[in-house]
């Protein structure tokens, strides 16, 4: 059941990533050059809807489909790793023009060379896992 729901939600997300053009290298460069409101409008309105949802879910003590009251855990308060890791991610985002969701979406929409970016991303995770104890967090 969970997998079926995940498949439907994923399909919807993939569809929107294409329709909103957020998987486009052109759009990402345009965003980092502050040459269009498009990407900022999308991220901003998504966060607006997300924040309102979280507020309502907490206020109404909404239950999940599994029957428990939904509780949101706080992210671990590690700021050095958030910033340094975020910076590494940002460099890669501007190079590939894609964050992880759009990488999968690009493979589906025909830019199949992005398979290599996913493989390289998995190697990146492995590298992090190996260096984790030596990196500042």
């Amino acid at each position: 059941m969970k997998n079926l729901i995940a498949l439907v939600l994923g399909t919807l997300f993939g569809l929107i990533l294409v329709k909103a053009e957020v998987l486009s290298w052109f759009r990402i460069q345009e965003m980092f050059a502050f040459q269009s409101f498009h990407m900022y409008g999308i991220i901003g309105s998504a966060v607006g809807v997300g924040a309102l949802s979280v507020f309502l879910i907490r206020r109404m003590k909404t239950k999940s489909i599994e029957g428990n009251v939904i509780e949101l855990k706080d992210k671990a308060p590690r700021y050095t790793s958030a910033y340094l890791g975020g910076t590494a991610f940002g460099l890669g985002w501007a190079m590939t023009g894609a964050c992880p969701g759009p990488m999968y979406a690009l493979i589906g929409s025909g830019t199949t060379i992005m398979v290599l970016a996913v493989v390289a991303g998995v190697v990146g995770v492995l590298t992090y896992a190996a260096l984790r104890d030596k990196l500042p967090h």
């Binding site: 997300f13 980092f32 607006g48 999940s64 706080d74 958030a82 190697v123 992090y128």
Partner: protein, 189 residues
């Protein structure tokens, strides 16, 4: 029916697409009992496929396998959107962005990604290899070091006012601005 398909086939403006992306947050919480995010799928692939002895990759990835199914769905959804609900029109970039592409030597503005960089026929080009492999590596490494990507930090994390997510987003833009303004022009020209 044709009118509906034609309407859907146009690119969607930000104020339609953005709120639907935002709905991923409550849909995940309510229907999956999980927070929204997709970069963990890289970690699950890593834990599942690469034999290793690293603590960070010793966890029950099978209990999070829904995230891999979600990633598969993204691929399918994008395929459907591109195959059945798209036009051949180039992306309506701002004039300033079009001019900047020209300055960076990118001539072909058709499609979602520049075909002269991101296609198999240019696999022998060092620029293509650097952008795809180097960029992919940094995305994978960076998301795990930071603990999330645009979905998990920027949308999910900011939606419940997490300070680490705000710091991570500052990092996203630090890296993105450095790459887009300082490094990419060197790579491309």
């Amino acid at each position: 029916m044709n009118a509906i398909v034609e309407w859907i086939s146009q690119p969607w403006p930000w104020y339609v697409a953005g709120p639907i992306i935002g709905l991923m947050v409550p849909l995940h919480l309510i229907l999956l009992n999980r927070t929204f995010g997709i970069s963990s799928s890289f970690r699950h692939v890593c834990a599942a496929c690469i034999p290793n002895n690293l603590d960070f990759l010793k966890y029950d990835w099978k209990s999070e396998s829904w995230n891999l199914v979600f990633a598969g769905g993204v691929l399918i959804g994008a395929f459907l959107a591109t195959t059945f609900f798209s036009t051949d029109e180039p992306i309506a970039l701002s004039e300033a962005a079009v001019a900047r592409m020209g300055e960076m030597g990118i001539r072909d503005l058709l499609g979602q990604h520049p075909a002269e960089l991101f296609s198999w026929s240019f696999i022998g080009n060092w620029r293509t290899l650097l952008l795809v492999l180097g960029g992919g590596f940094l995305v994978g490494f960076g998301t795990r070091y930071a603990g999330g990507c645009t979905s998990g930090h920027a949308i999910m994390g900011l939606s419940h006012f997490q300070l680490p997510s705000f710091v991570a987003v500052l990092g996203f833009f630090t890296g993105g601005l450095i790459m887009s303004w300082l490094v990419l022009p060197l790579i491309l020209t």
